[in-house]
């Protein structure tokens, strides 16, 4: 079976029986192209394909089916994944992610859980092996990864590129192997499930998931003695402070940020600090090019 269809079928396993049958009624070629399945109470399930969202020929999704989706995804253990539910998502086996919407139950002004679910989207996790091949040589002068920031607008594959660089550096594919520590706040890079990364991040990679990036980075720095410290989506001054501390310890930094280009970075105070303090030496920009992506490496120092 084609790996893309296999990932789809694994993800569909999280759906209640009726919805799963409908999801699996798609042709094999479409199954390989589906990026997300969207479930909205009162409407038929839809599949998001590269060309757009298409409804499946099926009766509307019932609210109790959304509850059942959460039950299956959490293996009837919502209490064990409440931290994820509070953030509006759930990771299932295979690294597939279920985004949730509904009525928030608040406690002390914070979201305690989500009740009466109204919609969900099941994002199919697919790893693109070797996507970092065009940039790796440029990022590893002398065979050792240098401090690298990956920059692109949302949806262009920052996380995919980050994951593949981590995997190759950790495995020593095309560069010298390094111990990598990954602060995976939302579980999008390694997608831990029962402690096992569902997406390949390499044998020398240690992952901390579910805690704020800055705290995760400091924990990894103290506990795991990393040679490379990686994080997805640097957004807050605390993240920059943690990276600054790590840089002072001689650790190589690898991170991603939202933005179109260097000017975009310089405009925003959080990222300006990164540039001024020269925490990163290389900047990888991603831009769409035809059906694929083009990568540009810039020197930052």
């Amino acid at each position: 079976m084609e790996p893309r269809s296999k990932a789809y079928q694994q993800a569909a396993g999280a759906l209640p029986a009726r919805l799963r049958r409908e999801a699996l009624s798609l042709s094999a070629s479409d199954q390989g192209r589906v990026e997300e399945l969207r479930l909205r109470a009162g409407w038929p399930m839809t599949a998001r394909l590269p060309e757009g969202e298409v409804p499946l020929d099926s009766p509307p999704v019932r609210p109790e089916e959304l509850d059942q989706l959460v039950e299956i995804a959490s293996r009837a253990s919502v209490h064990a994944v409440l931290d994820q539910v509070r953030q509006g998502y759930l990771t299932v086996e295979g690294g597939h992610r279920i985004g949730l919407c509904g009525t928030a139950a608040l406690r002390d002004g914070e979201i305690h859980t989500l009740r009466r679910l109204s919609s969900a989207n099941l994002r199919i996790a697919r790893q693109v092996m070797g996507v970092s091949a065009p940039v790796l040589d440029g990022l590893c002068p002398g065979g050792v990864l240098t401090d690298t920031l990956i920059l692109s607008p949302p949806g262009l594959g920052k996380t995919t590129l980050l994951r593949d660089i981590i995997r190759r550096v950790s495995e020593g594919e095309g560069c010298r192997p390094r111990r990598v520590a990954l602060a995976d706040e939302r579980g999008e890079v390694a997608a831990l499930y029962h402690g096992i990364p569902q997406l390949e991040v390499g044998r020398r990679t240690d992952v901390v998931e579910g805690c704020p990036k800055a705290q995760g980075l400091m924990l990894l720095l103290r506990a795991m003695g990393p040679q490379v410290l990686a994080a997805d989506e640097i957004t807050a001054p605390e993240d920059v402070a943690a990276l600054r501390t790590a840089a002072g310890c001689g650790v190589t930094l690898l991170a991603t940020a939202h933005g179109a280009d260097r000017t975009d970075l310089e405009r925003r105070p959080v990222y300006r600090a990164l540039l001024e303090e020269r925490l990163f030496r290389k900047l990888v920009r991603i831009r769409p090019e035809g059906p694929g992506r083009a990568y540009t490496i810039e020197e930052l120092s």
Binding site: A17, E71, R75, V78, H79, L82
Partner: protein
Amino acid sequence: MVKLMGAVLVAAGCGWLGFQGAEGLRRRVRALRDMAGGLLLLERELELGAPPLPGLMDGLSARACGPAKALFEGCRAGLERLSEEPFALLWRRLTQEQSSLGEEGRGALLPLGEVLGRYDSQAQLESVSAARRQLEELAARCEAEGRRQGRVYQALGLCSGVFLVILLL
């Protein structure tokens, strides 16, 4: 000689029925106690944290006994088929299979199917604790009843045996 043997068999048979009635009450008390013991284990596990239900049921089925063991084992297996049978229905079905607990005992367990795995550990703990107390009270009540009625059953069995023998002779 045959008459005598027949009379002994009739008397023994009726006596056995009476003793079985008394033993049935004792069995129910044992089943209720085992179930309450299983729920106590569940409470202890929930106090330690928030383990996912499959692992929890796995561990409990190895340590519990009697109907609690059967219930936890059934849950463990059923958790692999959640898309076919939601946990609340699974729990209801398995609970209803526990005939040794009696209707009231099963009634104490039923609400747990709507709580286990659904709410935070504290809320689950409170519900499990309430069900356990209910089972313990029921077991104590059944035990007292059993002491009283058990003797009645035994006496009734023996007396009806003797009565039948007299009638038949």
